[in-house]
């Protein structure tokens, strides 16, 4: 059976893996965090249907884990790629979890007893996790991981509580990283994106004002399994806000930051406005925007619904400055109203959500160098040939999803299927 | 005396009306909570005996929803439904039951709003008819 390595376990990587596996290839799905799922796992709902994100993602994650033709390499990274199409040699470094995954049952006894607390990446820093942890409750695989850099035993040979309480005998402090080599006929890159660090845009107050959060943080706040149990509460005093606003294009469409448009923010801000209103009836929401990009199927109606049925105020203006109120809570937003007769106004909101630029993830440059693929001027994987939309500059290496540029979930899914088709063309058909 | 709230049964076909009902749900189209759906593959598989059983046991209204004529997933199924349900209604009439308690309609997979409309209308109509007189005479 021919093998394909898929790098990145978000929705694009998962879909590509499923199609390739169904098609009869042996798939090695490499994901650097302890669970597959990517950013979609962090979302509460997805636009424009407001489907519960985990509900539609979870079955695909499970199908990946269950599929006879898919081998998951989580908490792993691609270390080196040698050879060429159709015989790539991919070295996958499986990082030490300090847990024997064959024995771990995911029961969670160890997590309860671990004394170390650190900021929780999945919860975007709004909550804490332990040094031994499950990235999120629906993680696949459902195995714990010890964060070696924070664990007292790994760092200074102290503690050891988790090993004492583990009834399955799964803790192994001596575990080492291991390297697995896979001879693959093709490679699919689906490494997704991350949010730009918007604290550098100090005019918007992220980091300085307690009640200014990022959109992903809001998703966690809105999620039933999130840090507030789905209750819309602002960080400063945990009160339910009465007025909430969104700022679009924070770092996108910006000559001083990122010139491009991140594509999905207009829609997700609309979605979050609707959801926030459903969580807090009577909530007033506003979206500060430049162009309202609602071009996909059902998107324009979604925006109309937000405007008409949920009273969302769409304000065409780019805020100039954001500050907290006198007692350090809320957000005072200074902006210009539109038109020639526009004037500078300051409006108070209880909470402000920033929609930061969506950029290539950490390590994207290094990975592209390793794979020998060219990046475009924005740092995304370049797929210049319109008639070969998933081909990178290197034959046999394909790219899909956000890794090659801003894209939403349905398009990531169809692009991932396209990558599977292309891999099949190259491998079986002897295509050029 | 609490206000009469009818109990209604709806047979929905998998391909059109059930999907239309799902779409109504996805779009959060609100409707009265009186209708309980039984999923079948095709409206043509709904035997009149199910309708009679429901009515004779006191259910206040029965809806049979299929694909639009010409769009049946199984080609001609709904043609038979279109002939069969009116006959069932006539039998009910002859038995002294108001045949407005049984309604046949067509809802496609894209018609979430139509589903909402049919449900809301039918519940209103059955409510106006009052409780099924056979509630007291159950077999």
């Amino acid at each position: 059976m021919e093998k394909v390595v898929v790098i990145g376990g978000g929705i694009a990587g998962i879909q590509a893996s499923l199609d390739l596996a169904d098609r009869g290839f042996e798939v090695h799905l490499v994901e650097r965090s302890p669970s597959i799922g990517g950013h979609m796992a962090q979302l509460d709902k997805t636009f424009p249907t407001n489907d519960c994100s985990m509900c539609i993602l979870s079955p695909k994650m499970i199908m990946c884990a269950d599929h006879a033709n898919i081998k998951l390499h989580t908490y792993s990274e691609v270390q080196a790629v040698t050879g060429d199409f159709p015989r790539f040699r991919v070295a996958i470094r499986e990082k030490a979890r300090f847990v024997d995954v064959k024995r771990c049952t995911g029961c969670g006894d160890c997590i309860a007893k671990c004394p170390v607390k650190v900021p929780w990446e999945f919860e975007e820093g709004l909550a804490q996790r332990k040094a031994i942890y499950l990235p999120f409750p629906q993680a696949v695989p459902r195995k714990v991981t010890i964060d070696g850099e924070r664990c007292r035993m790994i760092q200074s040979k102290k503690c050891g509580v988790c090993k004492k309480v583990c009834q399955a005998g799964a803790i192994d402090y001596d575990q080492k990283d291991s390297v697995v080599e896979v001879e693959a006929a093709a490679i699919v890159v689906a490494t997704g994106f991350e949010l730009m660090d918007a604290t550098v845009m100090s005019q918007y107050g992220l980091g300085a004002c307690k009640d200014v959060v990022t959109s992903l943080q809001l998703e966690r706040i809105l999620s039933a399994s999130g840090p507030t149990g789905g209750h819309l509460a602002r960080p400063s005093d945990h009160r339910e806000p009465r007025k909430l606003a969104f700022v679009q294009c924070v770092g996108s469409r910006d000559a001083h930051s990122h010139g491009y448009c991140s594509s999905v923010c207009c829609m997700y801000a609309t979605k979050e406005s609707i959801l926030a209103r459903e969580h807090a009836p009577g909530l007033e929401t506003a979206i500060f925007y430049m162009d309202m990009r609602a071009t996909g199927k059902g998107f324009q109606e979604f925006v109309s619904r937000a405007r008409q049925n949920y009273g969302v105020r769409y304000i065409r203006s780019r805020p100039a400055k954001v500050q907290s109120t006198a007692d350090g809570t809320g957000a005072l937003v200074n902006y210009e109203t539109s038109g020639l007769t526009g004037e500078s106004v300051t409006e108070e909101f209880d909470m402000l959500v920033l929609c930061p630029a969506l950029i290539p993830p950490k390590g994207a440059k290094e990975l592209s160098a390793l794979l020998g693929v060219a990046l475009d001027e924005d740092g995304f994987i370049d797929t210049p040939d319109i008639s070969r939309p998933v081909d990178t500059s290197r034959k046999g290496v394909l790219a899909c999803g956000f890794a090659s540029g801003p894209i939403d979930i349905p398009d990531s899914v169809s692009q991932a299927s396209a990558a599977a088709a292309r891999a099949a063309e190259l491998i079986e058909g002897g295509a050029k | 005396m609490t206000e009469f709230s009818p109990t209604i049964l709806a047979f929905c076909c998998n391909w059109c009306s059930y999907a239309g009902a799902d779409l109504a749900g996805v779009n959060r189209l609100q409707m009265p909570p009186n209708v309980h759906v039984i999923r079948v593959m095709c409206s043509a598989s709904v035997k009149p005996e199910y309708v009679f059983k429901a009515i004779s046991q006191g259910i206040d209204g029965v809806l049979v929803l299929g694909c639009h004529i010409g769009d049946c997933h199984y080609l001609t199924g709904n043609h038979r439904t279109a002939k069969r349900i009116p006959v069932a209604k006539k039998i009910l009439r002859d038995a002294g039951i108001d045949d407005r308690r049984v309604r046949l309609d067509w809802v496609s997979a894209a018609e979430g709003e139509k589903f909402q409309q049919v449900i809301t209308e039918f519940v209103g109509e059955v409510k106006a008819l009052g409780p099924n007189p056979l509630r007291e005479v159950r077999m």
Binding site: I62, I409 | N14, A110
Partner: protein, 563 residues
Amino acid sequence: MARVGVFICHCGHNIASTVNVEEVVEFAKGLPGVAYAGHNLYSCSEEGLGSIKRSIAENRLDRVVVAACTPRTHEPLFRRACEQAGINKYLFEFVNIREHCSWIHTKEPREATEKAKKLVAMGVAKAALLEPQTEGESAVLPAAVVIGGGVSGLAAAASLVDQGIETHLVEASDRLGGLLAEVTTIGPEGTDARETVRGIVTRLEASPKAHIHLRSRVAEVKGFVGNFEVTVRGCDGDLKVPAGAIVVATGTKELVPTGEYGFGQRPEVVTQLELERRLARGERPRRVVFINCVGSRQPGREYCSRVCCNVTLKNALALAKASPDSRIHVIHRDIMSSGTAAERLYKEASESGVKFLRYGLERVPEVVAGRDGVEVLVYDETLEETVHLGADLVVLAVPMVPPGDSEATAKLLKVPRDKFGFFLEAHVKLRPVEFATDGVFICGSARWPVSARECIWQGMAAAAKASIPIKEGKVVIQAITAEVDPDKCAACGNCVLACPYEAIEVVERDGRRAAKVNEAQCKGCGTCVAACHNDAVSQKGFTSGQLSAMVDALVKAALEVPR
């Protein structure tokens, strides 16, 4: 005696915010046949499924009821979980308390909870009577049919033949390329459209596996996944093509304006496609005004046609660069240049001298006679005044709309369309290139207006999906077929007349005549069931006993239990 396990899902707060899940669990415990009742935050997650499998083992359950979302999405997932736990996958029943309950009664939580209880009672009553089934297999014909020779159909067909699959491409007109045949360049990069099409067509022409049928239409489609018979009607008669999968790539056409902005009366007012034709002829009008969103994003046609802004931008840029004294204006409501390359194109266009004015639906532009050509009057929202623009040409960016025969295509294939007439895929997020009907796939603008690049990758995605059953060689048949009890059968033949698939016939067996079902042909619709006067035909998984029990359960829960 059945031992039914009932699992109520919170679905995060999608169900739990309206329906009192714990109350429904308690209610379920009291239902006849229920040996266990529990709940999960997300039943479909690994944690939820694991908990269900554990409960099955611990409580020796032999039937499972899950009350959650819609079976149309996750039924296969739970069936597989049952199998893994040692229960036949057909001993599973799905109750919909989300789309059909919590989401549509958000303001009536008490009533929604009571309704959920009744729905669960109905599900349990059916589950208790379910019988184990074995699935049959059906061979898949090793060929595909692609309907539509535009760029998405071409991409789908080319990918299929490059994967070694026999493919028939059916195109109604006399040439390939669809709308792109009339277009100069595509994409923000300005790629030559005809060369792009030519490149893909070359791949097809080079492959012995590709069969291109021009001036042809699909006249009839019979069969089901793996076993379609597609009748291709060309100039020289009908050809019956056996196929395992069908890809719909029938595309769109440009909306023809009905007199807006003087279209039809003033020769200076044209559509974008007409501009493309003139650009292809080398024409470069000097003063051009583009009006975006003509006929779209308004009551009656609310959608945004996605690609028009980018087409306007690339054409505006080309015209601006053509001459130092060109005066190009774009009148728009929003500029939809999402992504990296498109946003760069927007920047380049404005830096090259293209002027942008924003208008609102409340005050649309007007086209009047001018001294030289026409004049466009536009109320600019930013300047808050009416601007007069002289123009040699006014280009209307109109939306893409479904072609006139899309209704006929939908009927031919038994696939649904949305309210605008675009085809409706199986699931907007999870299955964007598939129809709910197995074996039929969708790509390109027939589903929603998309760019050429998107058409191509969607065509490839449809090819990926279509290739799976074809390469596998077989598909599994769901065990919901009909069966006949010969002892009850009077051999009257009603079922034979009723069946749309000729899947049932009266045969002689052991000296007596009775109806018999051809499992491979039976599609599991149940039409024969209702046609039979003797209760002799039943449908697996939907028997009279099961459905009657559901009616009884509703009666009991609704009418006999005090509110």
